[in-house]
Symmetry: C2
Subunit: 402 residues, 2 copies
């Protein structure tokens, strides 16, 4: 078997953890499997490098930033090769050049386009354990690019697809994907399986286990993922196209606190006004999530929407500058909100999910400010202070506990 394993930065943060991961890597190698490992930079290396760069230049060029940050992963793979060699196993580290990890030219947020197989295959034939730098690539100018947040997950999935790996294991500091964040909902249950689509909704809802792009890529190329812990031997959660187990109504509850709500009051009830507002925001790359438009009261209507808190300030200033153009009267906003969602592939064919969720929140005396639904997801916007209570109430009412 050819197995791709990915370990995050915290899994290799210090000497002890490096050797712990080295032993995990060796388990499969000893059984005769070919092993390709993707590593992130150690611990908070990337954050420290970011800080150092900002000390020199508050707004550094993205090309130089990628050149700078990519050293973190290179250090990580070289150290792991040394660790494996010290416990008696042949290993070789490869960076994005050496693998041939070709990406688009957009620095800091490049997309993987093509992965060469020659070097990796020839090193596998030499019986080497292969350590590949996550998060980075090279563009057509031979410059270093990085893949943006969650980039190492994406590297692992893309490698598994390119090499037609038999397994792709994503190691984290939790034992798998849970029905809810166990720190918030103590009796949350680990899922044995979850579909790509459910995982995508959970990831975008802030479950933080796998990055969206890696799940999209896994779905596109049919790469079966295993999410498991680097610290225990627990089985983990399998992410795949369809789950054989009986479809659960709801597979998880997630919360996202990086949310702010903006309302533009008194917009003229004319066609195109809403479009104008959102196209202004889109031009500045501000993503809008839930949108609610009031029914026109006479000649005006209100539009409210959510965006991430990071974007709040910029969004407000864009709207204020263009308030006349979009014919709004005034703007209101609220930062003390959170989005709580339930996700489940079984939801599409069952109409009772939304009402069960609303009932649970009503019973807990939690006010719902906005609602958004998709085929496999229902999200509500509530006051931030109610987040934990809401998650537990929903988790309870859907009987997700173990």
């Amino acid at each position: 078997m050819l197995i791709v394993k990915k370990f995050g930065g915290s899994s290799v943060a210090n000497k002890e953890r490096v050797f712990n991961v080295a032993r995990r890597i060796v388990e499969d190698y000893k059984e005769g499997h070919q092993v390709v490992v993707v590593l992130s930079a150690q611990g908070d290396t990337t954050d420290l490098l970011l800080e150092k760069a900002r000390e020199i230049n508050k707004n550094p060029s993205r090309r130089e930033m990628d050149m700078f940050l990519s050293t973190g992963e290179q250090q990580s793979v070289a150290l792991m090769a040394m660790a494996l060699q010290s416990i008696g196993y042949p290993a070789i580290s490869l960076n994005a050049y050496q693998v041939g990890m070709h990406t688009s030219s957009v620095y800091s947020n490049a997309r993987l386009k093509r992965i060469d197989q020659e070097r990796i295959m020839s090193e596998l034939e030499r019986n080497n354990i292969i350590l590949v730098t996550g998060f980075q690539g090279i563009n057509r100018y031979e410059d270093i690019t990085t893949l943006g947040r969650g980039g190492s997950d994406t590297t692992a999935v893309a490698l598994a697809a390119a090499l037609k790996a038999d397994r792709c294991e994503i190691y984290t500091d939790v034992e798998g994907v849970y029905t809810a964040d166990p720190r918030v909902v103590p009796n949350a249950r680990k899922l044995d399986e979850i579909t790509y689509d459910e995982m995508l909704e959970l990831a975008s809802l802030g479950a933080k286990v796998l990055h969206n792009r890696s799940v999209e890529l896994a779905k596109k190329y049919g790469v079966e993922l295993v999410v498991r812990s680097s610290l225990s031997q627990a089985e983990g959660t399998i992410v795949k196209e369809e789950c054989k187990m009986e479809k659960m109504l709801v597979s998880g509850v997630a919360a996202d606190k990086n949310v702010a709500r903006i309302a533009v009051i008194g917009i003229k009830d004319e066609p195109g006004k809403a479009f104008e507002l959102f196209s202004l925001l889109a031009k500045k790359n501000i993503n809008v999530d839930i949108i609610l438009q009031s029914i026109g009261r006479g000649r005006s209507k209100d539009i409210s929407f959510t965006t991430s808190r990071d974007n709040l300030e910029e969004a407000l200033s864009i709207i204020h500058e263009n308030l006349e153009r979009i014919s709004g009267e005034r703007v209101e906003y609220d930062e003390q909100v959170a989005k709580v969602s339930v996700v489940g592939a079984g939801m599409a064919s069952n109409s009772g999910v939304a009402s069960l969720m609303f009932e649970a929140l009503f019973d807990a005396n939690i006010n719902i400010k906005m609602i958004s639904t998709s085929e496999i997801k229902i999200s509500v916007l509530i006051n931030e202070k109610d987040t934990e209570e809401a998650m537990n109430a929903i988790h309870e009412s859907f009987k997700l506990f173990k």
Copy 2:
């Protein structure tokens, strides 16, 4: 003009120094010159990385070590590009892959073979200031190599030769090449010019200003070097083939304390015995410097030689193991010695130099243990404790002071 500038690690050790170097780089660029800069890793980065690697593996593979260490220079050049951009100048960093810095395959001690010019030239045409990682290259497997001690000097000289640069400036923390180490001989004088050959003798004698390999390369390709300070505007010292100024008898005095003396007593006075001793040492890569053979007394002779103190232990054990084979009676050694040398291109045609040197040492009551001479150098081995006094006495007698 195309100017290559090299700055060492201490010149870019922190934010303030990075910006100091950035301003030095810009001086020539503002006057319309093309500037290519070679940088070492910041401050003690390389030492810290070495320590980190040894924590993981006491005897790491050299390939992985090079992969690991080369990140230091890459961080350095990226940061400098950011610094230059922040003060308003266009800059781009390039690592060994991006330049095409081709070396032999020997990890940790590779030799530069060929430098591609396309990328650097095209970036120069775009008016960029170019920052190149020193100390590193790539071999024919596309693996990262490093050039060993003083590697960044070598990178700078090789680049200057390949690009046919008009000037190659090596910036250090001293103002140039001195007649002696100013910390030992307070009235040592900075030289305006020195020949490659003199510089080679001084470098190998421990003057620590330029690495030998870089001077050899400069001599081979006729690259005129300027050694100057990154902290002052002083003119520095020019290193070139022939100095126009009247040839000085002696241009400098240098001392090397990394010396040990070994004596093998009572070797049978038969042909080939000395050869056998030194070929045993050569096989273990132990360099031997001064060699003294006593005149055969009857049937036996003594051979004494110097080597670096790092090699003392290994050399002694090799000799002890083979004492019978080389027909020696016993071995003596002395670690409390130092080598003091005078260097000067004018020496070759003047026979009084040696006697002037010996007289100076005699007057200072310093005992000479061994003597070695070349065309442009005279070295003596003395007791280590006498080093400073010897240097000052010689410096004085040759009237090298300012």
